[in-house]
Each structure stands twice: as C-alpha cells, then as structure tokens.
C-alpha cells in the first residue's frame, strides 16, 4: 500500500523535474547584427544551461520599442528579457518596471564593464537595472585615398570648420563622390542623435536648468545653419531621407568622402565583403566646434528583466551569460574578432586578438570613455544623456524637432522659422507635462 502510494509521488517529482528543465524564457530583441549572432548562439547557451530554453522575438527597432512599452506599462508579462537602450533604462527603472540586478554571479566582474556605459544603466545608488550588450559612440570616417590625393592631413582632433573646408575640396558630384554624408532622416534616434551632438559642440543645449527649451538660442541657430549649408552644399542629393543605413550603404559604395556616425559602423566598413572602401578607411574623433563636450554620443543596447517576468532567475542567468567575457570570447572564436559586441568590457579592449582584428578599437574605447551623459553641454543642463534627453517626453519632442530640422534641410522653411516652430512645440509639450507653468 505504501509502495503504491509512493510510486505516483515519484512520478510527480519526475514530472516536476522535467518541467523545471524546460523553463522557457522569452527574449525580445532587435534585428541588429550583434543580436542576430546572439540568437545564433542559442545552442551554446542551452548546452551550458540545460535547464533553460530560449524563445526569441525579433522585431524592428521602432516596432519593438512600441511593443515593449505597451507590455511593460501594462505589466503584460509577455517577455522575460528585453533589449532596450540607454534612453529607456533610467526612465523604466525609476517606475520600478525593471528588476534590479544587484545579485549577479561573482565571476560576472561588474568592474570590467566600462564606467560610462555602466553609469548609464545604473540608478543613483549604483544598482544596475540592465546589462550592456554592446555600446557605441560616434566618430568621423573618411577616405584615406581621397585625402591623400588632395594632400589633406587628418589632425588628431578635427574641427567642424576644417571638415567643411575639406568637404568643399573633395566634393565631386559628377563622379558621385560627395564631400560629406550625414543623417537627415527625421526621428529622435535618427537625425536628432547626430544634430544633438552638433548642437552640443556648438555650445547649445536642449533645456536650461529650469527645463526651459533653448532651441531658438544662437547656438542652435548657428549649429543648424551650419548643418543645413554643409549638407546642401557638399552632401549627397536627397540627404533628408538618409539615416544610418542609407549613409552606410553610400559610404561603403565609395560615394562619401567623410561620414560622421556610430562607431558600430566600423566593423561593417572594414569588412571587404560589405564595403568597397575597406582598405581606404580612415577614422578620427568626431569633429568639435566651440567645446569638446557632447561632441560624440553614447548609446548602449542593454538586456533587462521586466519586473513582470515569472522567470527572473533564469532570465538573469541568460543576460549574465550574453554580456559576459565568456560570451565575447565565444563570438570571437566562432564568428571572428571584428564581430564581437564592442564597447562594453575593458577586457575586450585588452584582448590582443581583438586589438589585431580591429584597428579602430582604441578610437572607439576613447570615444566611449570620453562621453559623459551627465555633463554633455557647455552650459549646465538638468538632464542625463548626450544625444537625447532622459525624460519620457523626449521621444515625441525629438521626433517633432527632427521633422522641423529636416524641413529646414529641404528648404521648405528657413532655419530660423524651423527652430522657432520647434521651440514653441517643445515649450507646449513641456508645459503640458508639468515641468513649468
């Protein structure tokens, strides 16, 4: 009798064990190259963690952002791991939407994470709310062959004025070589990411210490005027519809003499399969004007665990693995060292394999370390973020202002009109959000 009772119990326990073995976590991510590699390494993770299996939801960045915001704001609990950026992490953490990551395994080596990147993902007490998957800054790419032919030497720190002169010298539209390519496609993460750094280095800022918008200030006028003239005089035709991808395609086909954009493009431009200018690629720090502050951005894609997840422990194991040094080594061995996720760990930059494969490594490291989201403008500002403002309202403000800047670029409105309209719109949004009356 006792035995027969015990048997079903054993059976139940066994069933329980298999259920625990099949703990599935749903990972939401974007379709960027580094994430595609992460997805392709699912097997490696599942082999080393047999009690966890991964389910992927891969979406386009804007769709993903909307999808995740809906889910996290309503506590939907559809995802166990979310891929989010430096912009979302502090805002979501403040609302207690993200699980704090204070009990990471000892071998994770939090102090190996680059400080500026780590700061962007921690709250004021230093508690991490997301782990950095890869990070990027911005820098100047140029064509060495064109520069050599024209007898131009790239200084250690170029200025925007120099860049304009060079662009004029190298602009050759008849041969489809344009002096400079820059982002023009409207959007807070598209043209405004670049434009914000330009405004920063021209001495401007988004808001003063009382959260009053400063978009009609002389610094903005000067920066946007410079941007519009530069791109209209020496840029490719239809620049207002070019975002990161379009410019990447233009530069890698040899249509741009210079391009200022994300450091994450370096790996792609260095890859001869994707780029016809791989052997002529030069790079320099992002140009400066009045101040070096905020002249290059800081962005990281990070993995976070929503507070609504039912499988937080398994999710923590996964994100610790995907952002670990072990993972970097795994990608380096399997996919080649130029493909490792950049910008997160000091150890990556100390790795001789990486140094050899990625000659741009030091530039990227310096750019990332030199970007300070808490002190990014000449005059003091109340916000965190170099190329964005860390408040929930910024997505709509940034995109709206981006559209107005784009209309100045196409000549639909004058720079002055565009900035006045942008100032008014931003003021209204901020007033409605209760930053001032």
């Amino acid at each position: 009798m006792k035995l027969s009772r015990a048997i079903p119990l054993v059976g139940l326990a066994a069933a329980g064990a298999t259920a625990a073995q099949a703990e599935t976590i749903t990972v939401a991510t974007v379709n960027n190259n580094d994430m595609v590699i992460m997805q392709s390494l699912t097997d490696a993770f599942e082999q080393s963690h047999p009690d966890i299996s991964l389910d992927w939801v891969v979406l386009e960045e804007n769709v993903l952002r909307q999808r995740l915001t809906t889910d996290i704001a309503t506590g939907g609990g559809q995802f166990d791991v979310m891929t989010i950026g430096t912009y979302e992490v502090p805002i979501w953490a403040e609302r207690d939407w993200l699980a704090p990551l204070d009990d990471l395994p000892a071998d994770y080596r939090v102090d190996d994470l680059l400080k500026s990147v780590r700061d962007g993902l921690s709250d004021d007490d230093g508690t991490l709310h997301a782990l950095p998957f890869y990070a990027e800054s911005s820098m100047l790419y140029y064509r060495k062959d064109l520069f050599d032919d024209a007898g131009i030497e790239m200084p250690e720190q170029p200025t925007w004025e120099q860049v304009r002169d060079w662009a004029g010298q190298l602009h050759d539209p008849d041969n489809e070589t344009y002096g400079i390519c820059l982002r023009g496609k409207p959007g807070w993460g598209e043209n405004m990411a670049f434009v914000s750094t330009l405004v920063n280095t021209f001495g401007g800022r988004w808001f003063d210490m009382d959260w009053q918008p400063q978009i009609d200030s002389p610094a903005w006028q000067e920066a946007i005027g410079f941007y519009v003239d530069l791109l209209n005089d020496y840029g490719p035709p239809g620049a207002s519809s070019n975002g990161f991808n379009e410019n990447l395609a233009l530069f890698s086909r040899g249509n741009c003499a210079m391009w200022v954009d994300a450091t994450s493009a370096a790996g792609k431009l260095y890859n001869p399969d994707e780029s016809t200018v791989a052997d002529q690629l030069g790079f320099a720090p992002a140009p400066v004007a009045k101040t070096p502050k905020g002249s290059h951005w800081l962005w990281s894609w990070a993995l976070a665990i929503p507070a609504s997840s039912d499988s937080k422990d398994a999710a923590r194991e996964f994100i610790a693995w995907a952002t670990s040094q072990e993972y970097v080594d795994l990608v380096g061995e399997r996919e080649g060292w130029t493909s490792v996720p950049p910008g997160t760990r000091v150890s990556t930059y100390e790795n001789p394999n990486y140094q050899e494969a990625a000659p741009f490594a030091d530039f990227v490291l310096n750019a990332i370390q030199g970007a300070d989201p808490k002190d990014s403008t000449l005059e003091p500002n109340p916000y965190v973020g170099v190329q964005f403002v860390g408040i929930p309202e910024f997505q709509s403000i940034g995109t709206q202002v981006g559209q107005m800047v784009a209309s100045a670029l196409t000549g639909e409105t004058s720079v002055e009109q565009a900035l006045q309209a942008a100032q008014r719109a931003t003021q209204r949004t901020m007033e409605r959000a209760g930053y001032f009356d």
Partner: protein
Amino acid sequence: MTTARTKSMSAAGSVPKATPSPLFAALSSRRLWLTVLGWTVAGVIFFPIFWMVLTGFKTEAEAVADPSLVFSPTLDSYAEVQSRANYFHFALNSVVVSFGSTLLALLIAIPSAYAMAFLPTKRTKGTLLWMLSTKMLPPVGVLVPIYLLFRDVGLLDTRTGLTIVYTLMNLPIVVWMLYTFFKDLPKDILEAGRMDGAGTLQEVWFLLLPLTLPGIASTGLLAVILSWNEAFWSLNLTSSQAAPLTAYIASFSSPEGLFWAKLSAASTMAIAPILVFGWLTQKQMVRGLTFGAVK
C-alpha cells in the same frame, strides 16, 4: 460617321486591298487602347511585388546597389531567413488565425445580415452605419484596454485571442457585404420557400446560402486576405507562440546593416500561400465581386 465612311471608301478606292471597316478599326483601336491601359495599370500594381521577388534572389549588396535586372540569382537570403526563424511555425499561425476568424465572422454575420436584409426595422440603417463607424477609430486608440483585457483573461500571445480580434475587426465589413448581397436577392424566392413550409433555418440553409454563395465566398476571401495582411494587432498582441507571418516579416527589417534581400525573401515567402490561394479562387472572387451588378 458618314464623312468617315466616304473618306474611308475613297481611301479604299485608291488602295486595292480592302481595309477593315472603320467601325471595326475604331473599335479595335479603342480596344487596343483599353488593353494597353489595362496592362499598364496591372503592371504598375504588380511591379513592386515583382521587384520584391527579384530582390529576394539578390545578395544584400546587389539589393541596395543601382537597380538592375541582370544579376546571378542566389538562394542565400532564403537560407539565412529560414535559419533564423522557423517559417512554418509562423505560416501555420497565419492560416489558423485567418481562416478561423473568417469562419467565425461568417457564422455571426450571416444571421445578422439576413435579419437586416429581410426583416429591416427603422433602426437597421443606423445600426449598419454604427457598425461601420467602429472601423473609423484608429486601432491604436483601443490598444491599451484590449491589451489589459487580454492580459487578465490570459489571451495574450494565443491564437484564440488573435482570432477573436480579427473576427471583431472584420465583422463590420463582412456584415455590410453580406447585407448588400442578400438585399439583391428577390424576397419572393424566400417567400415561396416559406409557402412550401420552410422554417427560418431551412430558408437560410436551402435557399439563401446556395443562391448567394458567390457573394459569401468572395466576402470570406476578402476577410481571409484582410486577416492575413493585418499587422498592427498581430505585432502587438503576440510574441512567440501565436505570432503570424506579419511578425515574421517584421523581424527582418533593421535600422543597422543591410536587410533588403532578406526582407524581400521573407516577404515573398509570407505572401506565397495567400497568392496561390488567390489564384485558385480567382473565379469565385470576380464572380462574387460582380455578383448582382448586372440584374
């Protein structure tokens, strides 16, 4: 007309071979023009799809290079797309959800359209318009309430949940179309049936449905296609288990790096089933859409 004829006769006089009658010439040139116009419109509509299919067979670099018809086709993009996501999982969800929601919508819409067409009250018109007005609200306006409801009843990321939403989404159009088809049916036929002792159910089953089958079929086909292509709800209410082909396509667009060839390959695979389905049912479709146009 007369002048034309005299002219052409004089022309015929000078040329030994008889030319076709001017009426025929005018007609055939008009027909020719109409044919040309028809093909042009069809070409313009079809071109993006043609280009998409073509791009799916290019490499990523060729896909963003200057448009060209000459290239050596490759299946790389298809292989890559399949290695990153299991197409059949998404396709099955699409099939189940589109056909399920269409069946459900027809089940609800046939009785209601019947009631409105044959037993109208003074509020019928208003009801119909009100139903249609729900289509005028942008779906994002009700996203959060529906998301919360679905969360609480556990319908997020389930085929059942998506089927319900698609049914509700298509219901107004389905009712409207069926209502128009039913209205065109002479009431006398149904009355004759009733005289012979048919009940309401028999009347619907043996008379109404067979007589309006082309209309019902084309309504159903339209509902299937609308559900198949729907991208807002499918992206927002599903994550991994119930995600249909629209979510599959969305996973191949990227703000970083080249993706056109992969996206085209994924899109081609996503539209292939519904395209084949459309071809097979083309006759029904055209018959249904012109049903009642000529009485």
